[in-house]
Symmetry: C2
Subunit: 258 residues, 2 copies
Amino acid sequence: MDQQLTIVKVGGRVLENPETLHDFLEDFSALPNPKILVHGGGRSATTMASRLGIETKMVEGRRITDEDMLEVVVMVYGGLVNKTVVAGLQAMEINAMGITGADLNLIKAHKRVGADVDYGFVGDVDEVNVTSLIPLIRQGIVPVVAPLTHDGQGRLLNTNADTIASSLAVEFSKILDTSLMFCFEKPGVLINPDDDSSVIPFLNRELFDMYRDEGIISEGMVPKLENGFNSLANGVVEVIITNTEGLSVPGSGTTLGV
Amino acid sequence: MDQQLTIVKVGGRVLENPETLHDFLEDFSALPNPKILVHGGGRSATTMASRLGIETKMVEGRRITDEDMLEVVVMVYGGLVNKTVVAGLQAMEINAMGITGADLNLIKAHKRVGADVDYGFVGDVDEVNVTSLIPLIRQGIVPVVAPLTHDGQGRLLNTNADTIASSLAVEFSKILDTSLMFCFEKPGVLINPDDDSSVIPFLNRELFDMYRDEGIISEGMVPKLENGFNSLANGVVEVIITNTEGLSVPGSGTTLGV
């Protein structure tokens, strides 16, 4: 496996503002091919839901996706955010193709059941089919993936974008040397959330457990890092957590390792 | 050119109702490959705009697409309608891939200028690039195309779905024997709009001009037929106007010819 693939996951907040979106897309477009972009949606779905008079219910930081909210996330993630990113990349001469997990049967999932909380139409990943994407990325096409999956019965499901990114990275690792970059508004995993210079440059499981036990790493960062370590354990060669500027600067951000 | 391609354009009304959508997708899925589906959106965007408190302005049956309405059509056509169709086709074992004219740089357009009416962010087609789609349709992938284009500068544009379908048909005709089917809620072009048995089985330009001069063919059917005749004049081998049931029944609907 000499060919390398970079999968970048970008969070909703970077995409919400036209200027940070533009900066991000410029840095992303400078990365060598083949590459894949996975985007979140975040608050843009909450804003749209509120404009439609739909209440956003969150439990432990996770969105409850009822029928009305599913419609909103399909519109916002699969339509507005995805196509805005695609048009922005095309303007930078990147041949982007925006898809969801339903397109090309890319990611099949099932509606989460048996949890203490009913999250609604939230999909847990069962199957990732990258076969159709391989010839596309070899031609220089850049897939832009929205955080939606399908159940194979015609139902779309809302799936966490970090999970989509790590599921794709693990599957592509069977064919290509795959790096996974989580790009968000902070320069890396921070010791002090208010101090951007306190980036932890390297984390392995042991250090992660220590920081978590001390409460230094908490909340949304925990599942992100779990996803990262899980990807490493399943063949992904490199996992980096950084911000837009860090995308193109080697050694930036937090590198996960064993 | 021995390989045949069928491009089906389906109107918004067929897609609005889950039952008519399901029936349509079943009939569409039974058509032989390669095939492409182009969908409209119609009233679903009007409904969503109204829920968001955005007024729909129409001039001579055409939507005025201001900034707010563009956001709605990108969400509804590019997201909700497109991904609902894709998930429905995947449930029928059709490997659908939902895209817009921005994806794969499929259709480049420019914002309409110089018309008597300012239609807003409406795109007139400049360039159709089907190269990336050819290997996909040969693999059995079925593109599902939403009626959106882009200007190459990062701006998405709203483009009539009939125009998208005929532009694709003309471009594909250079490579494959291409048939174009306009599928809507009526069984064909009718002499009496209230009588579904009054289908005109065959129309050429001369007959069309005659029916139009007599006021028998009017309103939305005129640009649809203009698109059809334009496609025939530019290499498309067959243009048929029919309803869902007519898709799979040879000789149904109205056939355009020279």
